[in-house]
């Protein structure tokens, strides 16, 4: 049983790591496209609203799809005045309880509450409100669900990890 749980947690981590590391390259693309927008517009009087919007899409992908990876890498900021001095055991308790009563419900809440919002957008195949904009607003909105799902999974993985480490710490 314990083995299965550990395996599941590792699997989730692997998925979110892959997702985060993949989407990270979007930051590189963002920079290039943004620079190209400036050069094309001011150098050649060329511009497309869709190109401007593509940066927004990439930006959204980065922070919505990379957030679970960031959690797993322990890169979300803490007020660590006291936390820093806690024993491993205490830290594990903080994370276990935090993931259980904060991260899991918040991610579930976002997922559930965004579900209909995203489905509605798909039903209309919602496009840009700007003429010539990207016609994929429903994809953009779907990132919200990917965000929620990956965060729910990461919360479960973390709960498992902390519980197991608490057992090991005795």
């Amino acid at each position: 049983m314990r083995k299965h749980i550990a395996k599941l947690s590792k699997g989730i981590d692997a998925i979110n790591t892959a997702l985060g590391q993949f989407v990270a390259y979007a930051t590189f693309l963002m920079a290039i496209i943004m620079f190209a927008i400036v050069v094309l517009r001011y150098g050649f009087n060329l511009g497309w609203i869709a190109m401007q919007e593509s940066v927004t899409y990439l930006h959204a992908a980065v922070f919505l799809l990379g957030s679970a990876f960031t959690y797993q890498q322990n890169a979300h900021v803490r007020v660590d005045v006291f936390y820093r001095q806690f024993s491993e055991r205490k830290k594990a308790w903080v994370n276990l309880i935090g993931s259980l009563i904060f991260m899991l419900p918040v991610s579930l809440y976002i997922g559930i509450i965004c579900f209909e919002y995203v489905i509605d957008s798909w039903a209309l195949l919602e496009g840009s409100r700007e003429p010539g904009g990207l016609p994929f607003v429903y994809v953009l909105k779907s990132f919200l669900l990917v965000f929620a799902t990956s965060m729910v999974l990461q919360a479960l993985s973390d709960i498992a990890k902390q519980a197991l480490s608490l057992r090991e710490l005795g």
Partner: protein, 455 residues
């Protein structure tokens, strides 16, 4: 039951101290309060339905795109050691003075601050850029982190600043409303441009005060600042130019593309990011591994910043749902007479709110409530705007909840202890408060330049 909003506020503050990630604590505690409130019938659960729209608002906010791009620039500069070279060569230029590196950090930070108004991006960039170098060169962790946090938050004050743009937007409406309420039906206006010009003098005063403080420390407390003058034996002119020119070109490219109208501030961030890539490429620092490192670091920092925004958004939604904003409004409108008391109280409360709400929330939630009241009492709108901006900058610096501290903490890894950051910012907080007092005594520090330029 509005008092529950204050309980929520207190509960969030207390829970944050356990050390679970800030963003999730903000959102989690708020959600628990909302759930209990709804069960007890004192919270309108409909508020919770607005979350998708609010989240999508963050997703589609194009102003915030500057965050990952400036972070990207900072990480490239750090990874390719360009930043280190820049700081070292700058301090070589300033090496005749004691604390040349510190001065360089403040000046480089001022230049970076000028190009972005986003506290997160600037502090993070500065933290990545200069913290390791300063520590390596023997600066005390306190002084190093204090300097970086203070310089990083300057982004709000030194134009062009996104914070001032948002504030200008709201203040112009407040000014209009105040005048309409006073029966002036062809109202005067205050614009973002006025705020930009008004912020220049106070911004420079702050920079000068930071520099004076640094020199003071180096003169009286040798332990905190290394004696650098003798170390810079490589300071030949050619080597200097070699190290100094490329990064200067980059900063000029960012600022110049804004000031000469090639790009908006957001787009200029893209110019900076690609410029940094080109410089790194010229130094043969653009291998596969470096790029992977850069994009992953950028992603982590970006996610850290935006998850806080998401958490803050859920918190302020629940706070509003409990009637917290009505409570604030009632309080502000029943303030005891006298502009001085009113202003002081408003400043104090905005300072406290700066601990948990970000600039955008405060600008759009609090300022529209208090600004018309104060303007009717005779407060100059430009002065009010700059006072609020400097005040919030101070708030973002103040332990234990200042956002700038979180951001630095987030990128400082194990280089400095949290307590050292807290200790290091205290002198800068005092400087900030001093400048606030100066502006209160002589409002013309703010209003003189716009008055002169526009009339």
């Amino acid at each position: 039951m509005e008092w529950l909003s204050l309980v929520l506020f207190a509960a969030v503050c207390l829970t944050l101290l356990f050390g679970y990630p800030v963003a999730l604590t903000l959102a989690g505690v708020s959600l628990i309060f909302a759930g209990m409130g709804a069960a007890l019938g004192v919270f309108d659960a409909n508020y919770l339905l607005t979350a998708p729209s609010r989240l999508f608002g963050i997703v589609s906010n194009t102003t915030l795109i500057a965050v990952p791009l400036f972070v990207f620039m900072g990480v490239v500069l750090e990874r390719s050691k360009i930043a280190e070279d820049l700081l070292i060569s700058m301090s070589a230029v300033l090496g005749k003075f004691k604390s040349g590196l510190g001065v360089s950090v403040i000046l480089v930070g001022m230049l970076l601050a000028a190009s972005t108004g986003i506290v997160g991006a600037t502090v993070v960039t500065m933290g990545l850029l200069s913290l390791p170098t300063m520590l390596k060169r023997g600066y005390s962790p306190e002084l190093a982190s204090g300097t970086i946090c203070a310089t990083g938050t300057l982004g709000q004050i030194i134009p062009p600043s996104i914070a001032l743009v948002l504030l200008g937007d709201v203040l112009s409406s407040a000014y209009q409303k105040a005048q309409l309420d006073m029966g002036i039906f062809s109202p005067d206006s205050v614009s973002v441009g006025d705020l930009f010009v008004g912020a220049l003098v106070p911004g420079l005063i702050l920079v000068i005060c930071y520099l004076l403080y640094l020199w003071g420390v180096s003169a009286f407390s040798a332990k905190q600042v290394p004696v650098e003058g003798q170390k810079n034996e490589h300071a030949s002119l050619a080597a200097l130019l070699n190290a100094l020119l490329p990064p200067l070109i980059l900063i000029i490219a960012v600022l110049g593309s804004i000031l000469f109208g090639f790009a908006t501030p957001t787009e200029a961030a893209g110019v900076g990011a690609v410029g940094a890539l080109i410089l790194a490429g010229a130094k043969k620092q653009l291998g596969k591994d470096n790029i992977r490192y850069v994009v992953q670091e950028t992603t982590k920092v970006t996610c850290m910043v935006f998850l806080i925004l998401i958490g803050a958004s859920i918190f302020s939604l629940v706070f509003r749902g409990f009637g917290g904003e009505i409570l604030l409004k009632d309080f502000f409108t029943s303030l005891p007479g006298g502009v001085f008391t009113a202003m002081l109280l408003v400043m104090f409360i905005i300072f406290l709110l700066g601990f948990i709400l970000d600039f955008i929330e405060i600008t759009f939630v609090v300022v529209p409530i208090v600004a018309p009241i104060l303007i009717i009492m005779g407060v100059d709108p430009i002065w009010l705007g700059i006072m609020i901006a400097v005040n919030l900058q101070t708030s973002f610096l103040t332990p234990p909840f200042g956002f700038a501290l979180f951001y630095l903490r987030g990128v400082a890894s194990d280089l400095v202890k949290t307590e050292q950051i807290y200790k290091g910012v205290i002198p800068f907080i005092l400087i900030q408060l001093g400048v606030l007092v100066l502006m209160a005594i002589w409002p013309s520090l703010v209003t003189w330049l716009p008055d002169t330029m526009y009339n």
